[in-house]
Amino acid sequence: MSDLVIVTGASRGLGLALCRQLLAAQYRVLALSRSETDETKQLKQEYPAFEFVTVDLADLSQLPALCAEWIKRLGRPYALINNAAVGYDGVLATMHNSEISSVLTLNIEAPILLCKYLLRPMLLNQRGRIINISSIIARTGFNGLSVYAASKAALEGFSKSLAREVGKAGITVNCVAPGYMQTEMTSSLQGDKLDSIKRRSPLGRLATPDDAAAAVLFLLSEQASAVTGTTLTVDAGSTA
């Protein structure tokens, strides 16, 4: 049986591109998201190796039981890709506290708990991959995205330490940091801002979700077995 990869935030954007590439590369995919889309419904029809589960990852208390159920039903996963995230655009001084809290819950607490429960079977297998999707904003900063940036920087710090913790069990932990991509998440960034990012990038374009997904596929591969504790930036050179 082919290796199982669990992907969060799988219904659109990078998560969806990732599912498509994983299925094309013969992985089994457990896709998690709050809502199903036409695209995920279509993947389900096309690929028997694709399973979609509706789940609200911000409901942290249900995660241990859910992980146990997935492992029991589908076997020990080879990899976890923490891609689900939320970002509210707005200055901190007027951001509602509930929004700050929900960014931290979904972007950092949920990935940490998923890592905790899904790396256990990887420990028993003595092999596995954890890939956390960060953002160039973790290091560059961006006006109006301070809490989002904090969550992504936290994810990178977390990944480095976890890489040290589980390396001897044959598990690698890395981040992929995409730059600005044309997805629904960045739809508020259209117009002049986006054009200026494109113009300034060495490659004269934005990275696409497929570009970032390809970096994830590399980190999953056997060829990346000596890569751990690092962040792979895919931003068409924006931060060069």
Partner: protein
């Protein structure tokens, strides 16, 4: 008693997997930190027991509990098993 021997047996298996050398003899009074199994090995023991017994009593507890000896570790599983059965 069955659970007791199951955990003792799993400890031995996991020690091999984790490449750790357990001290001899291992008794219920053995302090876990001195047993020879490292912290990642303990994580593997909890993971293996969760797969085999279908429970992780530590996650189900409301507060963080760290047993000191193997006997205390086993007692936590026994208590969880009794609660499930009861």
């Amino acid at each position: 008693m069955e659970l007791h021997s199951h955990i003792r047996q799993t400890l031995q298996q996991v020690a091999v997997l984790a490449n750790c050398q357990l001290i001899e003899p291992i008794t219920d009074d053995t302090v876990l930190l001195e047993s020879g199994l490292d912290s990642l090995g303990f994580a593997m023991l909890v993971a293996q027991l969760e797969e085999e017994l279908g429970m992780d009593p530590f996650s189900e507890m409301q507060i963080a509990v760290y047993p000191r000896t193997l006997g205390e570790f086993i007692a936590i599983y026994q208590q969880a098993a009794d609660q499930t059965a009861g």
